[in-house]
């Protein structure tokens, strides 16, 4: 899953634990990003004013101040990069404060590197300044602008509803999408909705993906919803 706009995405890692910062930066580089690691608030501000970063991985507890201050300063900018907070603070209030301050996501330490990279990809995927987007998962690429799906680089036709369902699941890949929100999203009030309309759509989408040799899988959580998994890729 990588969103690309042609050039390499640049991520700033702000983490006072130097080892963790460099491990995260190294993992991001392996995942195809350009990554810089800094350990202080003032270094982060200097880096952010010198380089246009596409995303920031931000630790809250910094030696010279609170990461939330940086977040607030970033929000002042015309086109702020999305921020993923990574912290050892887990109280619900901290989480809410972080998200209220404008962070896109919040990841609790300790975390798996896969999870961090997946979250970074998710925050980058979110529309920002109307930038054109492509979402990738496994061998599936979803071109949001042109409403086109490539599987293994071959265009595969989908119905409008299947496309909308796939986009929804791709945008929240690795997380559960509630059946109710799919219902609300896919069906307007004037269309008759059968009690198992969502099930039918998912079933069809699964079959199309399998036929086209997609490596992604749509899992059912009975009574809850669906989760798209990019597999072990």
């Amino acid at each position: 899953m990588t969103q690309t706009t042609g050039t390499t995405m640049r991520v700033l890692v702000v983490e006072d634990e130097a080892e963790l910062g460099s491990l995260v930066a190294a993992a991001l580089r392996r995942a195809g990003f350009a990554a810089d690691a800094v350990g202080r608030l003032d270094e982060a501000q200097a880096a952010l004013s010198a380089v246009a970063y596409d995303a920031v991985v931000l630790d809250l507890g910094l030696p010279d101040g609170d990461g939330l201050a940086l977040l607030a300063a970033l929000r002042e900018r015309p086109d702020p990069p999305p921020v993923l907070i990574v912290t050892a603070r887990d109280a619900v209030e901290n989480r809410v404060a972080g998200l209220d301050a404008g962070a896109e996501d919040y990841l609790l330490k300790p975390f798996h590197m896969d999870e961090l990279i997946a979250r970074v990809k998710v925050v980058l995927r979110r529309p920002r300044g109307g930038a054109p987007l492509r979402i990738e998962a496994g061998n599936v690429t979803f071109d949001v602008t042109h409403r086109e799906v490539l599987i293994g680089n071959r265009p595969v036709p989908f119905t409008r509803r299947e496309m909308a369902l796939l986009e929804m699941l791709l945008r929240r890949a690795g997380r559960v999408v509630a059946k109710e929100s799919i219902e609300e999203h896919l069906y307007s009030f004037d269309e008759p909705v059968g009690s198992n309309a969502v099930e039918v759509s998912v079933h069809r989408l699964r079959r199309r993906l399998a036929e086209a040799g997609a490596t992604i899988e749509i899992h059912t959580l009975r009574g809850v919803g669906y989760m798209l998994d990019a597999g072990a890729s």
């Binding site: 634990e17 963790l20 050892a88 603070r89 330490k109 997380r175 959580l221 989760m227 998994d229």
Partner: protein
């Protein structure tokens, strides 16, 4: 102190009763002694009065003769034949010249009244008279002497009447006074100690969750205040100690997170068969730190369980949080039961943790490709059903205790997850139990009051 608890009321009542008893006994004894001595004095005075009465009515002429002219009432009193009173007037030569009765001089004679002057003498019981008499001799004008005698007062009668009076006046008055004193004493203690009883009720409610409570010192008797303030200070010290411990728990777990994050990140950057084992070890450490933090939060203070929360929505969230793990490990998850919201009063973050813990436990014990099902009922019950080996009846209580792990527990657990569920359920006024699932597996049932 040992033995039976001492009642201040009872003690005071006993001591007051003892003091009053001793006081009454002493008063009665003193009264009798006083009555006896007063009796003598009364008799002395009566004899002297009689003698001077007679002296007053004795006229001595210049020629040495005398005339005794007693007024009628006196004459009548002396003239009575019962012999209670008698007198003899002696002339200067010692011859009896006037007497109350003819035998009076003879009666006095044997006791030589004239050999004593202004003294008292005793006339022992005579034949025909039961009682002894007491006599008194006084010198009158012209060398005449007057001897008077009187039968002993009926002293027992007098004493009886005096005691009777004493009992009547004294005891009749003293009894209510004693009763009132006892009652006032006991009531004073009772009302003074009433705030202490109320205080005890408040103190009884203080527990680890309400250690910030203090006993009010207002309205207390001064004597008890030092105890209460000492208890309050002890509570403060206890709270400070407990706070320190809780903070330490939470901070220790919190401080573990960063090195664990470094460890996890480093292992994630490794490849090869060795990294899988390391990854499992790190995951176990991560879980332990996480559960310690959660347990520490439960310890940190009373949960606010007053917010309306949708139990089904919380179950959905918990399922969503564990879905990636479950799916990665080839286990299915499902939600059944009430299709709509299930509103209960509770603490959302704590309930989320509890349901997540139940789910984690179920997933650990369910072999792939099994499934775990969560059922949320309208009455506020959450059931988590797994396809594992079940929990033997002997372990069904112990597994909810901290750091106790079932015999069939899978390696990797910290032994805290189910304890957190139990403590969360209790904090909500609910409970959690485990039973066999029909067809195999275990059902964990968490019931919350609706």
């Amino acid at each position: 102190m040992s033995g039976r608890p001492v009642s201040i009321e009872g003690r005071l009542a006993w001591r007051l009763t003892a003091i009053f008893t001793v006081a009454i006994v002493l008063a009665v004894a003193g009264f009798f002694w006083k009555v006896a001595s007063t009796n003598d004095t009364l008799l002395d005075r009566a004899l002297q009065d009689q003698a001077s009465d007679i002296a007053r009515h004795l006229a001595v002429h210049p020629d040495g003769t005398s005339v005794l002219d007693l007024p009628a009432p006196l004459a009548e009193a002396y003239g009575r034949r019962d012999g209670a009173f008698a007198y003899v007037v002696y002339d200067p030569r010692g011859r009896p010249v006037h007497a109350s009765a003819g035998d009076a001089p003879a009666l006095f004679e044997s006791h030589h009244p004239l050999e004593r002057d202004r003294t008292f003498f005793r006339i022992g019981p005579q034949a025909g008279r039961g009682d002894p008499m007491f006599g008194y001799v006084v010198e009158a004008q012209g060398g005449y002497r007057i001897a008077v005698a009187q039968g002993w007062f009926h002293d027992d009668v007098l004493a009886d009447s005096l005691v009777e009076e004493f009992m009547e006046v004294g005891l009749l008055w003293m009894a209510p006074v004693v009763a009132i004193a006892l009652w006032v004493g006991v009531m004073t203690i009772r009302t003074s100690l009433a705030p202490v009883v109320r205080l005890s009720e408040q103190a009884a409610r203080i527990g680890p969750e309400t250690l910030d409570a203090r006993l009010p010192e207002g309205g207390l008797p001064r004597e008890v205040r030092p105890l209460v303030s000492a208890v309050n200070h002890a509570l403060s010290r206890l709270q400070a100690g407990l706070d320190r411990e809780r903070r330490f728990m939470a901070e220790a777990a919190h401080e573990l997170r960063t090195p664990l994050a470094v460890l996890t990140a480093r292992i994630d950057s490794l490849d090869g068969p060795a990294s899988d084992g390391l990854r499992r070890d790190a995951a176990r450490l991560n879980r332990l730190a996480e559960q310690l933090l959660r347990a520490g939060r439960l310890d940190a203070g009373p949960l606010d369980v007053s917010q309306p929360v949708d139990l089904r929505q919380i179950a959905v969230e918990a399922l969503g949080a564990l879905a990636p793990l479950a799916i990665r490990e080839g286990r299915a998850l499902g939600l059944t039961g009430e299709p709509g919201p299930v509103w209960v009063r509770g603490n959302r973050p704590a309930l989320l943790v509890a349901i997540e813990n139940l789910l984690e436990n179920a997933l650990v014990h369910t072999p792939a490709p099994g499934g775990v099902e969560v059922e949320v009922s309208a009455d506020g019950t959450v059931r988590v059903k797994d396809e594992g080996p079940g929990v033997p009846p002997a372990d069904r209580e112990a597994i909810f205790r901290r750091f106790v792990r079932g015999k069939d527990a899978k390696p990797g657990g910290a032994g805290l997850g189910l304890a957190i569920v139990m403590e969360t359920a209790r904090a909500h006024g609910g409970s959690v139990t485990v039973a066999d699932r029909p067809g195999g597996g275990a059902v964990f049932e968490m019931r919350l009051p609706g």
